[in-house]
Symmetry: C2
Subunit: 133 residues, 2 copies
């Protein structure tokens, strides 16, 4: 029994840690702003409401599937609100919620850091790649 203890303890620690990670607010937030389209969409909504196809045109790289999927996810998390106008054909408008607006400054902070320092990252990368052939 005693021989198993070390491995056993590590396993339990890992399980605990994994559970913690699932709860960890920071980790979850990173999951949100880390995905490919969330931030882009939020930033596009900063200037006011936008319709579905409108957003699609503003983000030429996005597929309909990802646009819908990301929008749903943002809606579920309370960052955007969705309102349908039952005309024919229907109009669907997406708006930033208060919570969504509060996220904008953070997104801007990320953007600013990137603008200021990603050049250094490029240099570091070039140097790293160069020094080992």
């Amino acid at each position: 029994m005693t021989t198993m203890t070390a491995a056993r303890r590590r396993q339990e620690a890992k399980a605990e840690f994994d559970a913690y990670m699932d709860e960890c607010p920071t980790h979850r937030l990173r999951g949100i702003i880390g995905n490919k389209w969330s931030s882009m969409i939020l930033l596009r909504l900063e200037d006011g409401p936008r319709r579905y196809a409108d957003l699609g045109r503003a983000l030429p790289g996005v597929s309909a599937k990802m646009l819908t999927q990301t929008l749903r996810s943002l809606e579920r998390d309370g960052f955007v609100a969705r309102s349908v106008t039952p005309t024919v054909p229907v109009q669907v408008e997406y708006t930033l919620t208060v919570l969504g607006e509060r996220l904008i400054p953070l997104l801007d902070a990320v953007r600013q850091w990137a603008d200021r320092h990603m050049g250094e990252v490029d240099e570091a990368r070039a140097h790293y790649d160069a020094t080992r052939t």
Copy 2:
């Protein structure tokens, strides 16, 4: 020919946009801080240098592979420095670079936002899930 124009134009716009995305500093930074272990490692290094196994113990959920891989990536991007002491057995120490230290405040900003607002996200999520059975 003219019938193809619309689709054609969209394709070109997409290609352009994709190229832009690859360059976009913000998007690249999100790729860095968005991955599972980068931020955690950087935050652990905040208090001073750490050795490989030491980091591993501080992050019970990480596999050796991911620890190495993430560390390599952070080193390449210039966020951490790796120094080897050729004793027997060898010692490898990881330290935050100046660039890495400059990233910490941003990471903290993310953490703070998460601590303050993820509760609201949970509520929104619960409400969303509840309202559509």
